[in-house]
């Protein structure tokens, strides 16, 4: 990042740091300084607030130094100017790529892992992220992300409204089946789109293989060798259990 841009962001981070430091001090002052806590009489110098006070004060001080430097170097003025024309500027390709990675990570950690079978979660995450970036085609990625967003949005709505519970009460693994259908749909969409954009079919095939082979190695490794219970053991992990304990 070039110097001028850095100073602009410094203005933003300085403001954030000062606010954060003030919030931290505010929370710290709620901690016992001289009262009794849990039957223990405390004095200021052994108070649990002592160290957070030190950190909060340091962060505010450093925030002000950063702010001063940002104002002095013109970063603050540039930042305000940039803010005024924020509606006119387009999101850069780099930012779109970052947002795509963020979408993949956030949906993986907050939507898929806690509610969907772990094998399916990994497969969906890998298939989406690899397909989005491996062909290295911006328009392809843009359209593919839209399809993923719709699918993950449907899963999110089902989870928020509690419909997932209703579905699972009809058949225990309904959400897993739904995510499997989503994966198949993404695969078909990716193949069709790849044809349109003249992306070699081979790439989608490689991504499919990776997104299936990796969880096929990792899930048994953690479940049966490291004895780690997986976050959600849905239909596929249960099937794996059946196979593993039958063979053993």
């Amino acid at each position: 990042m070039e110097e001028q841009k850095l100073r602009q962001y410094d203005f933003l981070t300085a403001a954030f740091l000062i606010l954060f430091g003030i919030w931290e001090l505010f929370e710290t002052f709620k901690m016992p300084m001289t009262d009794s806590y849990g039957g223990v009489e405390t004095v200021w110098y052994v108070s649990p607030a002592l160290f957070p006070l030190f950190i909060g004060a340091a962060l505010i001080l450093l925030g002000f130094i950063l702010l001063r430097n940002s104002i002095k170097t013109g970063g603050a003025a540039d930042f305000i100017h940039a803010m005024k024309s924020i509606g006119k500027s387009r999101i850069s390709n780099k930012s779109v790529r970052v947002l795509t990675v963020l979408l993949a990570l956030v949906s993986f950690v907050y939507i898929l892992i806690p509610y969907i079978d772990f094998f399916m979660s990994i497969t969906l995450f890998l298939f989406f992220l690899c397909t989005a970036f491996y062909p290295d085609h911006d328009e392809f990625r843009k359209r593919f992300v839209k399809h993923y967003l719709v699918g993950i949005g449907i899963i999110l709505i089902l989870l928020i409204t509690g419909l997932s519970g209703v579905l699972n009460s009809i058949l225990k693994y309904n959400m897993d089946i739904l995510s499997l259908i989503f994966l198949i749909y993404l695969n078909i969409v990716a193949r069709k789109m790849a044809k349109g954009f003249e992306i070699p079919k081979k790439l989608i095939r490689q991504v499919t293989i990776i997104s299936l082979v990796v969880p096929l190695i990792l899930c048994p490794l953690f479940r049966y060798f490291l004895l780690v219970p997986l976050p959600v053991e849905g239909g596929i992990i249960k099937l794996m259990n059946l196979v593993y304990y039958t063979i053993r």
């Binding site: 850095l6 410094d10 052994v46 950063l66 790529r97 970052v98 963020l102 995450f125 990792l218």
Partner: protein
């Protein structure tokens, strides 16, 4: 322990490891994994140690240390592959190696350059190990005299110096990162009065943040995001027939090796500063001391040897404060601290008393790891290069899955993931704005030490800060911290310059006059 007893234990340890096929297999595989991690741009030794910590959780401590030290040693060395063959350092530690390694490869000497880096890295690791053996007992004995004041100031010094030396932009950005790390460490019930701090009533936060998921988030997620974002592609690698361990050149450069090792150990032992700085400092020192400084940048063998010796001897250096004081000397050492705590080992001055043979175990592992690294480097380089052909857009998502599963598996808590990701995202934006991540990690690792020792010290002195000045070690640390901070204040910088100029003038007056001066 007598004089020969440690030696006896050391050799018994080595013998025990050598005759155990499982241990040797583990060592070879972790070293190779480390080389792959180090050679792949975007992956680092720190992330390698972090991810392997998950897999070693169920192992006994010494077996786990074999794997972790193996990947650490391999990771620091592995960066030189891409530095020499593609002019892209696999890790920051080998950035200085690229300056002369790549020109050597362009001259058709890639095999020779890789041979030199392999041998000098092994020598560097070995010398670092020697210093662990020699200095650890001395520092441990000294540290036993330390009180809470010294430990508090030592931790603070670690954060300040790490912030000062690792910041690429403004120095105080490093300090900010360090203090943010300290803040993260205060979350949870405090260890002295069990008061819940910044827990927002969430029971999951009461025990504090788990160190390893936080470190995986802070180090792994930014690397994954930036590598996928840039869709990084490794260009064509320079071809080489075989790696030649050019012992003659190595012997010819013995002074450079000794100098670089000392630099590496010295920098490694300073809290929070890693192998990258050791490489650059050693490069600078080698150029200054060289008879042919004009060759530097054009394929100087001396430069390649110096940087690789320094960054690998830094491993031993970083282990010294970690084992004796509980203060990690480098980011991968911070990960090792997390791993040791997971295995119930508390590094610090009491380590020599609680686990008398532990440091000897580590040194034995370091010795074997350096030999393994040499063998793997000489024999398997071509195979490792093949791994680099896997596109990062396929490789990095798999690493992301490993980060996620690793963070979850350590405490079997999904909550770890809920924390790991936001910390990772914040760390990504911080690193984009040129905030170094190493001080943040050091802050998280040392937060507990800082907090508890500050309050214990105050408890003993009844709220007085006077012992900071009356205790010699405290005073030295306090002055060092003040100097580091003052060094960034313009008034002091001017004063420093003025004093420097005055000293130069006095020295000039005292030195004999040159013919030019006589003419004047």
């Amino acid at each position: 322990m007598g004089v020969f007893e440690p030696l006896q234990i050391f050799f018994i340890n080595i013998g025990g490891m050598l005759i155990s096929p499982t241990i040797m297999l583990l060592l070879f595989s972790s070293v190779i994994m480390g080389i792959v991690f180090g050679a792949t741009p975007g992956l680092t030794a720190t992330l390698g140690v972090a991810l392997l910590t998950t897999l070693t959780y169920s192992m006994d401590t010494s077996t786990a240390m074999v794997a972790l030290m193996g990947i650490y040693v391999g990771g620091v060395y592995g960066g030189s592959y891409t530095a020499i063959l593609v002019n892209i350092p696999g890790t920051a530690a080998s950035a200085a190696t690229a300056l002369d390694g790549y020109p050597l490869a362009c001259k058709g000497q890639a095999g020779r350059a890789l041979g030199l880096t392999t041998t000098s890295s092994a020598i560097g690791t070995f010398i670092g190990m020697m210093f662990v053996v020699m200095l650890s007992p001395v520092i441990s004995a000294m540290a036993l005299q330390f009180t809470s004041f010294e430990f508090f100031l030592l931790a603070l010094f670690g954060i300040v110096i790490s912030g000062t030396l690792t910041s690429q932009d403004l120095v105080y950005k490093g300090w900010i990162a360090g203090f943010l790390g300290l803040f993260l460490a205060t979350i949870g019930r405090d260890k002295l009065q069990f008061y819940p701090r910044f827990t927002f009533g969430m029971s999951e936060l009461e025990g504090g943040l788990d160190l390893v998921p936080v470190l995986i988030g802070a180090f792994g997620i930014p690397q994954i995001m930036s590598t996928i974002r840039d869709n990084f592609k490794i260009g064509k690698t320079k071809k080489f027939d075989k790696i030649i361990p050019d012992f003659k050149t190595i012997a010819h450069n013995t002074p450079a090796i000794i100098r670089s090792s000392l630099i590496g150990v010295g920098i490694g032992s300073v809290p929070g500063i890693g192998e990258d700085i050791a490489g650059w400092v050693s490069y600078g020192a080698a150029k200054k001391a060289s008879k042919h400084p004009e060759e530097f940048g054009n394929g100087s063998v001396e430069a390649v040897i110096s940087t690789e010796t320094a960054n690998n001897s830094c491993i031993g250096g970083a282990m010294i404060p970690l084992l004796t004081l509980g203060v990690p000397g480098s980011p991968p050492a911070a990960m090792l601290l997390g791993a040791l705590l997971l295995h119930g080992i508390q590094p610090g001055p009491m380590l020599m008393i609680d686990h008398p043979t532990f440091i000897l175990d580590i040194t034995a592992i370091l010795l074997l790891a350096s030999l393994t690294m040499w063998v793997c480097g000489i024999l398997l380089a071509k195979q490792v290069i093949k791994v680099l052909k896997i596109p990062t857009s396929l490789f990095m998502p798999v690493i992301a899955v490993l980060c996620v599963i690793g963070s979850y598996a350590l405490g079997i808590r999904i909550f770890n993931l809920y924390l790991m990701l936001p910390i990772g995202i914040i760390a990504y934006f911080l690193s984009e704005m040129k905030y170094p991540i190493a001080p943040l990690i050091i802050g998280v690792s040392l937060g507990d030490m800082c907090d508890q020792n500050l309050r214990r010290a105050q408890m003993v002195s009844q709220g007085s800060f006077l012992p900071v000045i009356t205790r010699p070690v405290s005073l030295i640390l306090f002055i060092l911290i003040l100097l580091l901070i003052a060094g960034q204040i313009p008034v002091f910088q001017k004063l420093q310059k003025r004093i420097g100029n005055r000293i130069n003038l006095i020295l000039k007056k005292k030195s004999p006059k040159t013919p030019e001066d006589m003419k004047d």
